[in-house]
């Protein structure tokens, strides 16, 4: 009983860290641009397929492949911001951004399904199939490595945001776009790079997701719903909140799955969202209103 409990908590924390990475990108994009990127789910799947192609067809290791896939996803993100999002009008921007990125998502979903077919894939490597033995628990290496990768990348994100000139511009744009523009910050450039970073994390997230779960193009619907739930619970635009909510939700899901039933675990995910929002419309960790509309 106690062992099961600890086991579920460890599972939740390890997989929660990867969700934290994917959700951080999503909430970062919202914080700076007030854009809800509904395509984040399919971009994670795209990241997973990129790793799949590199490892199966070119024999490149999953983690080494990130050196290629992260820049590719970064450029794709900059492209989406530059080509589509920057051309949106200011009126009803959030709702329009949801529709535009939804369109991007179904185009990508159709294309991925066309190329790779509907059959489920899973990424393989030695560390996917083997486990390490710690204090009586068997932990698959991929979960541990994925956790470390997420910590490193979230650390890098923190460094960029709080210790660099660009990070200062980004946070200024997040607080007040107009004022940031007035003091000479190139908000369009900041937006493009932010979108790039927000999407680049999906390369890493997608790789770990693809190695721990079997996926096809349709997996994105479930994934994006979870990520959106997480960033709402965390308070939209708050990176710390997204990280906290990711770990919390994945732990809750693992506990429900262990002690009740895996079929209902996913339902609990959304039920928590509904209950929390009924009580606190700003989310669990939301400051009064991180960018209230």
């Amino acid at each position: 009983m106690v062992t099961d409990f600890i086991r579920a908590v460890i599972d939740g924390v390890l997989s929660g860290s990867v969700y934290a990475l994917m959700a951080a990108g999503l909430t970062l994009i919202f914080g700076v641009m007030e854009v809800i990127n509904v395509a984040q789910g399919i971009l994670v799947i795209l990241g997973a397929y990129l790793s799949y192609v590199l490892s199966v067809h070119l024999g490149i290791d999953l983690f080494a492949g990130l050196i290629i896939t992260i820049p590719v996803m970064f450029i794709l993100g900059v492209g989406i911001q530059w080509g589509l999002m920057s051309r949106l009008g200011e009126r009803e921007k959030v709702s329009m951004s949801i529709l535009v990125t939804y369109a991007v998502a179904i185009i990508l979903e159709g294309a991925l399904d066309l190329i790779f077919g509907p059959s489920y894939q899973q990424l393989t490597a030695w560390y996917v199939n083997q486990s390490m033995h710690v204090l009586g628990f068997y932990l698959p290496y991929i979960y541990v490595f994925g956790f470390l990768l997420a910590v490193v990348l979230l650390g890098a994100l923190y460094f960029i945001l709080y210790r660099t000139e660009f990070g200062r511009s980004l946070r200024a744009a997040q607080q007040n776009r107009t004022a940031a523009r007035l003091i000479g910050i190139d908000v369009n450039r900041v937006s493009a790079i932010t979108f790039g970073i927000g999407v680049a994390v999906t390369a890493a997230g997608g790789m770990v997701f693809g190695a721990t779960t079997s996926f096809n193009a349709n997996s994105s619907a479930d994934l994006i719903s979870r990520l959106l739930t997480i960033i709402i619970l965390g308070g939209m635009g708050s990176i710390g909140g997204a990280m906290g909510a990711s770990v919390l939700m994945l732990v809750v899901e693992a506990l429900v799955s262990t002690f009740w039933s895996p079929t209902w675990a996913t339902l609990v995910f959304y039920a928590v969202l509904v209950v929390v929002l009924a009580v606190r419309p700003a989310g669990l960790f939301g400051q009064k209103a991180v960018r209230a509309q």
Partner: protein
């Protein structure tokens, strides 16, 4: 736009002619085109015209975009299947009477959803409706009453004449469409409709002017679930076998949003135009390409093209162009209209508020 978002335009002779001829075409269509493949496409087109109209009647007029209305479609479909099976109802045209029942059950579901979801801001609302939708789909998969992934069989009227088998479904869909358009035509001309538009234009100011914002939003949300639930029941009857992922289908919401945006959000005719064109194309592609991927890509590209090049949709854009050519309006008004041609919802704010201040909010 200013005029559009305030009082509805008077019903001109030209419009009446269009409406009468549309009714005539719909009435005789299955008598001329007897090929079952064609009538099936037509049934889906009518069904999606009606449901897009209902989606627009909430989302387009309140400014709250729902991506969870497919939950009500599924509730309607399951209500139909469960009642028909449990009471062993004979498979015949009497089953069409279950459609309003399914609609009412969908409305009850909408009350529960709306009580939570409508408490949030617009963008959170969109996301919450996605979450709520997945809750319903999961319930469909996991409850014993829905028989999970194996789905439910619906009684099929085998004794109907094969040649005209589709016709009862077709006319049921046509009546559903007529009812829905009539309903929203009346709402658009009522104080309630104006209050709804004033919420879209500026919710805080509407509240300040005495519009019972919460009650209006919730009522509009619940009303829009009625035609959608009925369409779900019709769908179940037509298809004969329902599964959680075919009736709780996330693509439905996307379709309704797309059809509405393409045709012209916030107009009566827009969702009808978008529905008939896009659903026919989709069913045609399904039938002859049997490739869902191509249509996903086509859908996405059309969606993007419309949002960037014709953000107000076909009906308002073309309507303005026609009016401009006829020169029926003063030049200043025309330029004011094209000036306000930002993204569709919320454009032309204030006009409906002014009207509400006069007569709507009591």
């Amino acid at each position: 736009m200013a005029i559009l978002s305030a009082k509805a335009k008077p019903f001109s002779k030209g419009k009446a002619a269009v409406v009468v001829s549309a009714i005539a075409v719909i009435a005789v269509f299955p008598l001329i085109f007897t090929n079952p493949a064609v009538t099936e496409i037509a049934i889906f087109a009518l069904m999606f015209m009606a449901t897009s109209e209902a989606w627009n009647g909430f989302a387009g007029w309140s400014g709250y975009f729902s991506l969870g209305h497919a939950a009500f479609f599924g509730v309607g479909a399951y209500t139909f299947a469960i009642i028909a099976n449990d009471y062993k109802l004979p498979a015949g045209s009497g089953l069409f009477l279950l459609m309003p029942v399914a609609g009412v059950v969908a409305m009850v579901a909408a009350v529960l959803v709306g009580l939570v979801a409508l408490r949030t801001k617009r963008h959170t609302f969109v996301v919450i409706t996605i979450g709520v939708f997945f809750i319903f789909q999961l319930l469909g998969y996991n409850l014993s009453i829905t028989a999970g992934a194996s789905g439910l069989q619906v009684p099929t009227p085998y004794n109907w004449n094969a040649a005209t088998f589709n016709n009862p479904f077709y006319y049921a869909a046509a009546i559903l469409l007529g009812f829905t358009v009539g309903l929203y035509w009346i709402i658009r001309r009522s104080a309630f409709g104006l209050q709804l538009l004033s919420i879209r234009d500026d919710e805080e100011r509407a509240k300040g002017l005495g519009v019972p914002v919460w009650r209006v939003k919730l009522s509009a949300f619940v009303i829009s679930a009625f035609p959608v639930g009925m369409a779900g029941a019709l769908f179940a009857f037509l298809i004969g076998q329902i599964y959680p992922n075919t009736v709780f289908n996330p693509l439905f919401d996307l379709s309704w949003a797309l059809m509405t945006l393409v045709g012209g959000i916030g107009t009566i005719a827009g969702p009808l135009l978008g529905g008939v064109v896009l659903e026919s194309i989709q069913q045609y592609l399904n039938l002859y390409l049997s490739n869902a991927d191509i249509y996903l890509i086509v859908y996405g590209v059309v969606f993007l093209a419309v949002m960037f090049w014709m953000p107000r949709g076909v009906v308002p854009t073309v309507g303005d162009a026609l009016r401009r050519r006829r020169g029926a309006r003063s030049a200043s008004l025309v330029s004011a209209e094209s000036g306000g041609a930002g993204t569709a919802p919320g454009a032309g704010s204030g006009a409906s508020l002014a009207v509400v201040a006069q007569e709507g909010g009591k």
